[in-house]
């Protein structure tokens, strides 16, 4: 298999798991317009995940399909970072999770779009427009919640305290990622960092929220060491395929 395979699979898992979490909001959003926005972001990420899975399946060359990869792998085989599998919590938790992801995702796609792998570049180019909208949306909500009411600020602070520790994994390369970075196939995360950091600083300032001290980063998801949340998510996601394997739906 191509050396890109595990990385593309990691991208696919990441987008799928976050899309799944966001889809849990469907019908339960705080206001109809935001219900739509959450579904929209979920659909974008689901579409992106499918493109990656399809590409990963081709790279692997063993005849597996996008659905085989999504529905027939166990939690320890999943490669998404811990951040995206964290539960929705309240709207503030969903927003903080989304902001941390979007801020990284946008810069990553910018890098991938100009990368040497044509297929990845084309997926990234398509997704970049969507990711820009996602980042705008989650940034605006960070600002609204931070500079809104006392209640919203309290909830935002709590969400930051809970989720900030999962941001570090996004830009901490695994052995696989380091290798691909050396080959020039994956953007150097160190180079992405200033833009990510600058946007975070800007949004938090607008939100009147002091930058939280850098927590000890929680690592593990990208190497298959997940939190306990993923197993439940997959039990639900995969139930029908596990129950009736090999059928067409």
């Amino acid at each position: 298999a191509s050396p890109l395979f595990p990385f593309v699979l990691q991208l696919a898992d990441t987008s799928l798991i976050l899309a799944h979490r966001l889809s849990e909001w469907c019908g339960h959003g705080p206001v109809l317009e935001q219900d739509l926005a959450l579904a929209n972001i979920s659909l974008d990420l689901l579409g992106e995940a499918r493109s990656y899975y399809q590409y990963a399946a081709e790279l692997e060359g063993k005849g597996r399909t996008e659905d085989d990869l999504a529905y027939l792998r166990s939690a320890v085989e999943y490669r998404n970072p811990l951040l995206v599998e964290q539960p929705n919590g309240d709207f503030a938790h969903t927003i903080v999770r989304q902001f941390l992801f979007d801020n990284f995702h946008y810069q990553l796609l910018k890098g991938l779009k100009d990368g040497p792998d044509a297929r990845l570049a084309s997926i990234a180019e398509k997704s970049l427009k969507e990711a820009a909208y996602h980042l705008k949306w989650s940034s605006e909500w960070i600002i609204r919640l931070g500079d809104g009411t006392d209640e919203s600020r309290k909830r935002l602070d709590k969400a930051i305290a809970t989720l900030w520790r999962f941001a570090g994994e996004l830009t901490t390369p695994t052995a696989t990622e380091s290798q691909l970075q050396e080959l020039g196939l994956v953007p150097d995360y160190v180079a992405l960092w200033p833009a990510i950091q600058a946007h975070t600083a800007h949004v938090l300032a607008e939100a009147t929220v002091p930058e939280p001290p850098a927590p000890v980063a929680q690592l593990g998801g990208k190497t298959g060491r997940h939190s306990e949340h993923l197993g439940y998510l997959l039990a639900e996601l995969q139930y029908l395929q596990r129950t009736y394997p090999g059928l067409t739906w």
């Binding site: 889809s23 739509l36 689901l46 579409g47 009736y244 067409t248």
Partner: protein, 318 residues
């Protein structure tokens, strides 16, 4: 027409426009009963879209393929969109979304009873699309020509998307029926549960539907409940046959004389029971909506507070 109109009372002018199939627009004079009936009907329709997100939303996280997950999520999102158009249409009649939601949450306003039935298997996603959306379309297509302009225009958009959804639902059923035996059984089991409730979607029998005449006169209703129910059966029985499924009504039989299908009597006791709030999911559906609304209050307040702060700052800056 225009010259004559000068001599007519407002009521007569209004009815004359309706009879001439000229749309009533928000700024036009209208009888209070027409306004109230429309508010009730449109908001009930909007609430149905909102509550209707729940039974299908129930399977988004368990859809059996990425493609199906994506289609289903997009479909439920469309329903949210329909809700938005319809609330806006109702607002042109002088009510507010907050008021309409308050009426939904208090139980004063109704929504379609069909959503008080649970979705228990993946085949239900097929049945909801095929049967429930199918019934909805029969109810709604005539409303694209309804007398109130904003409502009619909203319905044009809604119907276009609904017929797309209905095809998707049918396609889910078809895939199941052409699949493994266990999938076909799943499809039949779901049809058994959904058939009668969808027949109920057209409302009580004409003989027990006293408002029909007035609504038809105002052209906010264009066919009677029983007419639509018959249309539905005539449309669906052959489709079920095509799928190789059996409609759970032994009385269904082609009537050569009527050129229509005979069918059995709906269980009206069940119908009224669910309407009165005693369906299996009435409690849960309403709870889910109330909970989302209540848990979202702080978010809406934050957004308003922030907008006000920003406006105040901008005013100072200017």
């Amino acid at each position: 027409m225009e010259t004559l109109a000068q001599d007519l009372s407002p009521e007569e002018q209004f009815q004359a426009r309706i009879d001439a199939d000229i749309r009533i627009e928000p700024k036009d004079w209208m009888p209070e009963a027409y306004r109230k009936t429309l508010i009730r009907q449109i908001s009930q329709h909007a609430h149905s879209e909102l509550v209707g997100m729940l039974p299908e939303g129930n399977w988004i996280t368990r859809a059996p393929s990425l493609k199906r997950k994506s289609i289903l999520l997009a479909k439920v999102q469309d329903e949210a969109g329909h809700g938005l158009y319809l609330y806006s249409a109702a607002e042109t009649l002088g009510t507010s979304r907050d008021q309409m939601l308050a009426d939904l949450h208090s139980g004063k306003a109704k929504y379609s009873s069909i959503f008080n039935y649970p979705t228990l298997s993946w085949a239900d996603m097929g049945c909801v699309g095929w049967l429930v959306d199918g019934a909805a379309i029969l109810n709604q297509v005539p409303l694209c020509r309804t007398s109130y302009g904003p409502y009619a225009r909203a319905m044009v958009r809604v119907c276009k998307e609904e017929s797309f959804h209905q095809r998707q639902g049918f396609e889910i059923m078809q895939t199941l029926c052409e699949g493994a035996p266990v999938q076909k059984e799943m499809a039949q089991e779901a049809l058994n549960r959904w058939w009668w409730p969808t027949l109920m979607m057209f409302g009580p029998k004409d003989s027990e539907s006293p408002n029909t005449a007035q609504s038809m006169n105002w052209r906010i209703k264009r066919f009677t409940n029983d007419e639509l129910r018959q249309k539905f059966v005539d449309m669906m029985v052959p489709q079920a046959e095509f799928l190789g499924l059996t409609v759970p009504d032994p009385a269904v039989k082609w009537n050569e004389a009527r050129q229509a299908y005979d069918f059995g009597e709906v269980n009206w006791e069940e119908f009224w029971n669910v309407v009165k709030g005693n369906g299996l999911c009435n409690h849960e559906r309403l709870q889910a909506r109330v909970q989302a609304h209540e848990e979202g209050a702080w978010v809406r307040e934050a957004a308003l507070a922030h907008a006000a702060k920003r406006k105040a700052r901008e005013a100072v800056a200017v």
